[in-house]
Each structure stands twice: as C-alpha cells, then as structure tokens.
Subunit: 508 residues, 2 copies
C-alpha cells in the first residue's frame, strides 16, 4: 500500500511559566483557538509531546478558553517547567505521543496473565519516561496488587526497576542495609542502627523513603535533623568519610520508578506484597547493598497481622533476594503497639536523640528494638560472633560511640539541626480510671496524619501511655501537635468521631 | 477521653473563573501564601471540599506560586465552575473532605475479596458524588477488570448503578432495547433497527453511549444527523410522539456512574466483562426497558473472538438480566470485518442514510445485519410470529416506512441535519494485484481514531474493499478523512509504520 509523504505543522508557541503546581504530573496550558490546538486537533486531557530545545516530555493538556494566555503562548506547570528548563523566549513544538504500547501488558495482567521480564521492563521504562498518567499508574498498581504477582514476576519487576535507574557500587565491600516493613508508628530504629553499624566499622549507605501511607518515613524524620537530599556524589563523599549515611533515596535516582509508583500508592492507600518486595529490594540492589536485614513487626493492627503472614513474606523476600544476589535475614518483632513516644517526623527525631544520648527517660522499647536489630546486623555481616551482636551493639550505644557517629554523619550530610516544635498542642485525657489494654497502630497513625504529619514535620501525636499502664481519670493519654490551627481542629474533630484509638478497661 | 471543642477557620475566598478546561475532574487553584492554604495546611494535589452557597464539591487543588491570582481569590476550572455555578462576587469556603471510606472496598477487591451490594453501593455513590479522583477510578476499574466480578457482584454493581441515577418508566408497556457489544467498525445498525421497530408499532426509547475505545459510538453517529443531548422531559415527548428516540444516555442521568467510569476506561482502553454487563444493563433498566436484544459479533479481530466466548458472555447477560427483571435475547453475528463502508461518525451516518433510503449501492452487509436484528427484535416482542420477523422488517424498510419514521424521529429530536464532510482526504492504494484475505477490525478502528474520530465527526476511514474482493495495483483500498491537516498526517505516519490493516495475497 502506498501513502504520499505529508508535512506536519511546524510553528512553535512561546513558553510561559504559569506558576501552577500540579505536583509530579506535568501539565501544559494552551488556548483552544491557538493554531496548534486547531491544526493538531488536541483537546482537553489529551496527552501530548512537548519539545523545547533538545528536551521533550509527555504532558497532559488543559485547554484554556479565555485570555489567561496569548494565542501564541503555551503555559507550563511547575513540573513541566522543571523538566524542560526552557531559556527565556524559548519556543515549544508539539507532536502526538506514540500510542502507549506497554499498556497492553497492564491489560494482560488485569486479565490474569503472567508478565515476563520484557513486558515488565517495557512498563517500567514508560513509567520512568513519564509516559504513564496517574490513571495508567493506578491501573498498573491495582493490576499487580493483592497477590497477583508470582515469585518470578516479582523478580522481573525488581530487575526492571533496578535497570531503569542509576546504580551505586562500593568496590566489593560488605555493604549492609536494613528495612522495616512498617505499619508501626514511631518505629524509627534506622537512625540508631546505622550509627551503631558504622561505629562498629561496617559500610551502610542507607537510602530511605519518605512516608507512603504513614505519618513519617525515615527520610522525613532524618530531615528534621540533617539534610537528606544529596546528589550521588555527595552521598559517596559522606559514606567514604563516615562509612555510612542516611539520605532520601528519591534524590539519588535509585529505582526512580518506585518514587513515581509510591505517590499513586499513597493516594490509593495501597501497598501490596509484590510491589512492596520489588520496591524494597530494587532500592537495595541499586544502592549497591549485598546484605539486607528485614524487620517484620507483627501485631493485630500492624501491616503484618500474624506470624504465618510474616514467615510467608520473609520467604518471598529471601527468595527474590537470592535471585537478585542479596543475602537476606528476616526478623519478626513485636508490632502490637507504637514504638517510642513520638509519631511524626520531629517527635520521632526527639525519641531517637534521647536514645542516642543515653537519657534516663529515653523510650525503652525504641532502645531495645534498635539494639535487637543492630545485634542481628553485626552478626549477619560475619564480623561478629553469633550470639555476641546485641552485647556489642549495646556497648557501642552506651559508650556514646553511636551518638558521636550520628553527629558526624549529620555534619557530613550538611550540618546537624534542631527538630522543629509545633506551635499548636492539645492534650487528650483519660475519661476514667483503669488500665490501657490496646493501642491501635493505624488509628494513631491516622490521627498523626490528620494533624499534618509528615508534610508538617513538627506535627503528630505524642503518646504518654503504653499497653498495660494503669491510668487515672484526667491523666493525659496523648498530646496532639500541629503546625496549623486548622489541622489541629481537623485531627480533633476526627478523634471526637472515632475516639477508640486507645482502649481502657475500667478499674481502680 | 475528652477533647475541648475548637473552631475551624471561617474566612472565604473570592471565586474567579480561570477558563481552564480540566475535563470532568474539577480543579481549584489557590495561592500558596493565601490564608486558607496556610491555616488548613492544604498542599498541591490535596483533595478538598469547596462550598459556594448551598453547593459543595470535592476538587483537586493546584497550588499557584505567582501572581495569577490575588491571595484572597480562588480560581475554578471550567468543570468546577459548572458544578458550583457561583453568582458574581461569591465567596468559597473550604473543608477537608471526609476520608474516602469506600476505598477500602476497592482495596478488598484488589485482594480478591467478594464485594456485597452494600459495598458496591458505597463505591458507586462516592463515584457519582464526584469523590473519586481519576486515580481512584482507575484502581476500581482495574480491580473489577478481567473476570474479577462473579455473577452476584455484577448484579450488585448493576443495581447500585441503576439506583445512583434517575429512572424512566413507560406505564407498563413492552419496551424494547438493543445493544451491540461492539468492536466492529461501522456496525451502526441501531439507526436502522429503531425506526423499523417504531414503524412496526413498538416502543423503543433508545439511549446510546458515545465511543469508549472505538472511533464512533451510536450517539456520536446519530449526532451528525440530529440533536442527541435531550432532557428526560424532551426524550419523553419524542417517545410519546414517535414511539422511539435515539439519544445520548449521558444527558438523561441514567446510570451516571457509567459515564464517569467510561471516560477512565477509555484512557485505559479497558472494557471488561463484569463492568461491561453492569454498564449495559444498568442503562437498560434505568431507561425502563424490559426486552433487550444483545448483538454479539464474533471474529478473530472483534471484541469477542470465539463462539464459546460469545455463549459465555450471552449467559452472563441473560443471568444478570433475569435478576434485574429483563428478558434478554442474544444473537451471535459475523464480526470478521468492518460492516458498511464508513468508519467515523459522519461516514457511518452516510451508510445508514443509504440503507434507509434504499439506494442501490447501499452497503449490503449493513442492510443484512440490521434486518437480521430487527427481525429478531420484532419476534422477541411477542407481536410477530416466530420466523416472520425478518420478512416483516424487510417490508418496513423497503416500503420507505422506516425512512419516514427515521426522519420523523430526527425532527422530533430537534431537526434533521446533514452530516459534515471532511476537508482533508487521502487515498491509500493497493501495492500489488491480488485478493483481500483479511481486514483487521482494531487496526482499522485505530487508524480512524488517529484521523480524529470521534471528536472530529467528519473524520475516519472510508473502506473501498471487503474480504474476498480481487484488487489491482493502484486501486484505492480506503480513503482517510480528517478535519485537521495535523491529524491526517498523524494517521498517515502511523499507517506507514503499521501498514498491515488489510491483508492482500498476491495473484492475478
């Protein structure tokens, strides 16, 4: 069949920064009567390819019907502007993006078919290339959700995610890492384990995530104490100097697909097995780790509800890890209630400082949990005798060596700082005498989020009781911390409607 | 536990229409330094509740960093403006929307749990209430995709979709309806079957959809001949006068969840069994139909690929229909290649007119397909003897009674009009002598879409050959029609890369 060659229209539009923040999804704004819209036939919510100089992005089009723009101008959202970084007076050119071919793999997965590594790589490449809209991302996440990915698919997804980003390498050293499955508010052990491991002499270049559905991720908490947004070169410098670091993984382009998927998982409050394992292990492999300790807290309101589920998950981590060349050790811990006192970035940072500084009233459970993990980690490295890890870790903590190392890490990352304090606070008190019988992890987390955590770093919940504590009527149970009055009201409103995050059985 | 009452901030922002078309998802624009953003702690991509007068919507927030807005103003997208219809000088007030509780049902479905009717109703109510973002909608669609809904869940979803909208009733009459599963370009039989049924004396208030993933829906094609956006009162008037109508279902608020789901299904190019059946039957029940004929075209490149799959789907339709009080008849038809010549709204309308007007060169296959369906429909109504339906239908068509009825329908709907003609055309010719052995339905449809259909109603593909036709080198195989030069180029570019939509076996 023959088809004569035709020309595509070739006139550009002047770029204009509109200052509109559409979050990570790039959006461009064009007048409905501009020549590009008319000749190319674009309409609202079209996806189009925008070229400026030698850069190109796929963006969503919002059509403008009035005089917000001249008809030879195109408006760029903040994320579109950041991706294209146009010079003053630049012209933008347009084309229809290629049909999103990898979407057929998402449909195949929805229809219950297995995806091979080639298919998963095609999807991940399109995700990292910004060619998936939020709608496409949500469909992929739901399609792979629940237990829809088998072991081989999780390995394939992990590999595809590693390959779509940068990789760090540490010259053949034993490189330690740890990961906690999460779901337990306040469980901020990384900030204690890493300095213990580094003070012991291990290499531990820790990249952490921000919160997905929780009121604080490790990176959010660390950021209240030191900068965490480092370039790969800066990160390397810190690790070469101090043997370790605690930085935000998103800034070093390790498994960048993960960062894109996480923002949509967060909107869906969905964090399922296959994607979780691929997300965690792709970051570890890309960071150059070879030994990973997985902390699996189990409890009735934790992410993992039973020891059986935890062993199952541990087996998936270990199986996928083996395929990826990682030595994985899993440890099941107590996830029955929040760890420490603070829930929210700055409040958790204060607990960490208390443990590192050996303060007499430092939260015992946080200290114990961190020592347990640090002990396992020292033994897993092969540099400490079996059964001696915890004792050694305790010595490193109690002599102040871990605290000194933590301060050195913060300085190397750009300077230690004081966590912020919330201007708005409100005490919630016991209505009766009795004993605390249950603290609901997810409801406590939700309350901290409604108070503004993690985006408001000083916000969150400060717990004053543990399960088993006796309480007197009028005694403070917890304090709400908020940076804005509206957020304090909102958390309080919600708490008043659903007050059962702490169960108290009446008695004297 | 006690919590003192607190006040929520109470100052409004002046509404301003920004003229930005964000399609159906309402978006509001607010300055990052305005007092609401600061005191409520909203951030980019927050979902917030916007109140103006006695109306309230849930909208996505885009934060603005520069002087597009004054800091006591809020900008509204076109859809937000249409939903709130604010008077000049109105003030908008804000609150955090309630947590989207029904999302737990979407997560449960992803984890393979069954959803009962209560759960499905909660999801559908939130969808119709505009509380699901595109991300949430995509997750729900993927979760229910493939074969993830069982018979009972499809019934539950159908009921929930009917109940979330308006319902028409026709005073106990026999009310006929038909539906084609689609996937066959050009298969526009409804516009012929409805006037035959109405001329025979049956009641057939037909509501049709716009295209989901095809280059034209029945409503798109009908709209090139007469208005299809009627109010329920106008629709009732047309049916009372003429016994039938062919209108766009979206305008009469029958099963409105369907219209919201369809726009996301379209972005995902996903149209799976459970949702398709619920979508089709909820519209029929809401429209007051009690007899429904389902046309299931089968072919290697049709939506349904095998007779077995068609019988399975027919059984689901019949089973769910029975639960909903519908008499369903299914008929399997030839879906091996496009029907008629035109593919695209206006081009299909011209085929329909040729058949109705009894033109000698009217497409035979379209005429035969329409007569087969009309005959079945007359018999299904119980008003025609078994085996006599087709003959009667043919008489109604050949005497011009159907054509007269069609014109009357168009007049009653607001006036008949001439379909538009595309200004840009391009012939694709045969490269060799031989015989046409295959025409690929989905590739033909894609080519028509790339040429601009259905949004450009005159655009599409005009076929000049059928399977089995001999062809000579240089003979036109099909003509591309486009309203914009850019779209013609785009369809041609794509065709040149993937030219195998018509297979020709060489020979003399």
């Amino acid at each position: 069949m023959n088809a004569a060659t035709t020309e595509t229209p070739d006139a550009g539009l002047k770029v204009r920064r509109l200052g509109i923040d559409t979050y990570l999804e790039p959006v461009v704004f064009m007048r409905s009567d501009c020549h590009i819209c008319r000749s190319e036939g674009f309409e609202a919510r079209s996806r189009l390819k925008v070229h400026v100089g030698d850069k190109a992005i796929i963006a969503t089009l919002n059509v403008v019907h009035n005089h917000l723009l001249a008809n030879d101008e195109i408006g760029l959202s903040e994320s579109a502007w950041d991706m294209l970084t146009p010079a003053a007076g630049s012209l933008a050119y347009f084309s229809h993006p290629n049909p999103l071919d990898s979407l057929r793999h998402v449909r195949a997965k929805i229809y219950g078919q297995r995806l091979d590594e080639l298919a998963l790589r095609a999807v991940v490449e399109d995700i990292v290339g910004g060619r998936y809209s939020n709608t496409h991302l949500a469909a992929f996440i739901a399609a792979c959700g629940g237990d829809h990915l088998d072991r081989g698919e999780i390995v394939g997804l992990t590999r595809a995610m590693v390959e779509a980003g940068d990789r760090l390498s540490w010259g053949g050293a034993i490189v330690m890492d740890k990961h906690c499955i999460g779901g337990i508010p306040g469980n901020r052990t990384t900030l204690i384990v890493v300095p213990i491991a580094a003070a012991f002499g291990l290499t531990m270049p820790k990249t952490s995530s921000r919160a997905i559905t929780s009121p604080a991720g490790t990176a959010d908490t660390m950021e209240t104490l030191a900068p965490v947004v480092l370039t790969p070169e800066q990160m390397r410098g810190v690790v070469e100097r101090e043997g370790a670091c605690i930085v935000w993984g998103g800034a070093v382009r390790l498994s960048p697909a993960d960062d894109i998927l996480i923002r949509v998982e967060r909107q869906l409050e969905l964090d399922s097995e296959g994607q979780m394992v691929a997300s965690v292990l792709s970051k570890k492999v890309a960071a150059g780790s070879n030994h990973v300790l997985i902390d699996l807290p189990v409890g009735p309101t934790a992410k993992v509800r039973s020891p059986e589920a935890a062993w199952h998950l541990a087996a998936v981590f270990e199986g996928v890890g083996r395929e990826m060349g990682l030595s994985i050790r899993s440890i099941i811990t107590d996830g029955s209630q929040p760890v420490g006192r603070g829930i929210g970035p700055a409040l958790e940072a204060r607990d960490v400082l208390a443990v590192l500084q050996g303060e007499p009233d430092a939260p015992r459970d946080l200290r114990e949990h961190a020592l347990l993990l640090a002990g396992q980690l020292l033994e897993q490295s092969g540099r400490e005798t079996r059964g001696e890890g915890r004792r050694t870790a305790e010595k490193i903590l109690d002599t102040g060596a871990a605290w000194a190392k933590f301060q050195a890490l913060c300085e190397a990352q750009g300077g230690m700082r004081e966590p912020p304090v919330a201007p708005h606070r409100h005490d919630i008190t016991a209505e009766k005498n009795g004993m605390v019988t249950e603290i609901h992890n997810r409801r406590v987390a939700l309350t901290a989020k409604l108070a503004g955590a993690p985006d408001a770093p000083a916000a969150g919940v400060e717990m004053h009781v543990k399960v088993g504590d006796p309480v007197k009527r009028g005694q403070p149970l917890f304090t709400l911390h908020a940076e804005a009055k509206g957020e304090l009201s909102y958390a309080l409103d919600h708490f008043r409607r659903q007050p059962d995050l702490i169960q108290i059985v009446e008695g004297d």
